[in-house]
């Protein structure tokens, strides 16, 4: 079991993280990471879609004609996203009012078609679902981290508006990091997103480089990142 799932977990969370290494799904990632809660919201919706689309494509992988796989993937992903959106609107309306704006954004997330094409189309259902979950978690982790960075620097708080997602009882979750903070607008605007993501990617590369030096002191080669 671990021999199969271990690498998938490491790939999704770290080695092949969709946001830091594959650099996929940057459009929603950069747009929605201005607060921690926004990041978490988009992350959760992405996990759900990734797991569902990976699972379904893997299940149907022998039926999908190879020549026409991309349009079929698009049909499947778009349908899943629409069904999730409608169902949430009907049965989790409160949550929909918060996450609703993020859900159509997920269709623009190429991480999803990327995982379907690269993994689910040629692997059994179990590993595909785990891959979707891990890639989703890896994406969410970056979203939340970037959201937290931008929120702290931009407005001096953490987890503001948590009540929107977790109900009124969560409004005390908001942490004011800097009292009487005047705010640093750039962090909240698009440039802050690009710079923040760049810093996180740099940090990851630095950690990787340090580790590979430790392991192979003579022949240290850090893999270049391909976009």
């Amino acid at each position: 079991m671990n021999a199969v799932y271990g690498p998938i977990i490491r790939e999704g969370l770290w080695k092949n993280n969709p946001a830091l290494v594959q650099l996929l799904g940057l459009c929603p990632l950069l747009a929605v990471s201005n607060t921690t809660i926004n990041g978490l919201g988009l992350g959760l919706a992405t996990i759900l879609t990734l797991v569902a689309s990976n699972g379904l494509v893997s299940l149907l992988r022998h039926q999908i004609p190879d020549e026409a796989r991309l349009p079929v993937f698009m049909i499947i992903i778009a349908s899943i996203v629409t069904i999730i959106e409608l169902s949430m609107n009907a049965w989790f309306h409160e949550l929909y009012l918060i996450l609703g704006i993020f859900i159509p954004l997920i269709v623009t997330n190429c991480a999803i078609i990327g995982r379907v094409e690269a993994f689910a189309a040629r692997n059994p259902v179990g590993p595909s679902i785990v891959d979707g979950l891990m890639m989703g978690l890896g994406f969410t982790a970056v979203l939340v981290l970037l959201g937290a960075m931008r929120e702290v620097i931009g407005q001096g708080t953490l987890l503001s508006e948590a009540h929107l997602m977790f109900g009124e009882s969560a409004s005390q979750l908001t942490i004011v990091v800097f009292e009487e903070y005047r705010g640093f607008l750039m962090a909240l605007l698009p440039p802050g997103a690009f710079i923040g993501l760049g810093l996180i990617v740099a940090l990851k590369n630095a950690i990787d480089a340090k580790q590979s030096i430790k392991q192979v002191p003579v022949n240290s080669t850090t893999k270049p990142i391909s976009a």
Partner: protein, 209 residues
């Protein structure tokens, strides 16, 4: 040639089947969720209205007691908008309608505004805006209480010359680093009050069925 033809045919057929199945699933979901979504939206709308006009103050079905307003210059609406009318025992209580501040710092600011029959404000809420986070977005009740200061104000209180932000000699606070946004909102609210004053009786007119 025949091999190619059959392969194209096969792929095309599979694609069609996938498209049909997927579309059917979406259609079935839509069908099953439609009523619930309409009901949810109604509830959300009612909650938004009741935030402005207390539900104990009226006893008509405010969601259906509506007036369709054509595009109106005073309100800066570009298309038809809806006026919700609150009545108690057929006496007009308040009207709730949308108005747009066209000159926000980054585009239009859409407001839901409730005006009591006597011309005083039942309340104002920002429905949508693209103002700068941390600066202009304090007009949103989620971020600050600023918008609540308009409750109960009218064209008489304060006097017209005070319907401005403080920087322009009026009585409303601007925000540090953001004057344009509150200025636009104050002006839009004032215009909406003028519109209401001028058209009050038409707004509450009952259209015979």
């Amino acid at each position: 040639m025949t091999v190619l033809n059959t392969s194209i045919l096969r792929v095309g057929l599979m694609l069609a089947i996938f498209a049909i199945v997927a579309t059917s699933l979406v259609a079935i979901t839509e069908d099953n969720t439609r009523d619930k979504i309409v009901e949810n939206e109604k509830k959300t709308l009612l909650a938004a209205i009741n935030a402005l006009v207390d539900s104990n103050d009226y006893n008509n079905d405010i969601i259906t007691d509506i007036l369709i307003l054509p595009k109106t210059k005073r309100l800066n609406t570009r298309e038809n908008s809806i006026v919700y009318r609150a009545r108690k025992d057929n006496q007009p209580i308040a009207a709730v309608f949308t108005t747009i501040a066209p000159n926000g710092y980054s585009g239009k600011i859409k407001l839901l505004i409730g005006v009591n029959y006597d011309g005083s404000l039942a309340g104002v809420r920002v429905i949508s805006h693209k103002e700068t986070p941390g600066l202009g977005d304090k007009i949103d009740l989620k971020k600050a209480d600023w918008i609540l200061q308009f409750n109960n104000l009218s064209l008489i209180v304060p006097v017209e010359s005070k319907w401005k932000v403080k920087k322009d000699g009026g009585q409303f606070d601007q925000f540090t680093g953001a004057t344009i946004t509150p200025r636009a909102v104050v002006k839009a609210i004032k215009n909406a009050l003028y519109f209401f004053e001028k058209n009050r009786d038409d707004l509450f007119k009952v259209i015979d069925e």
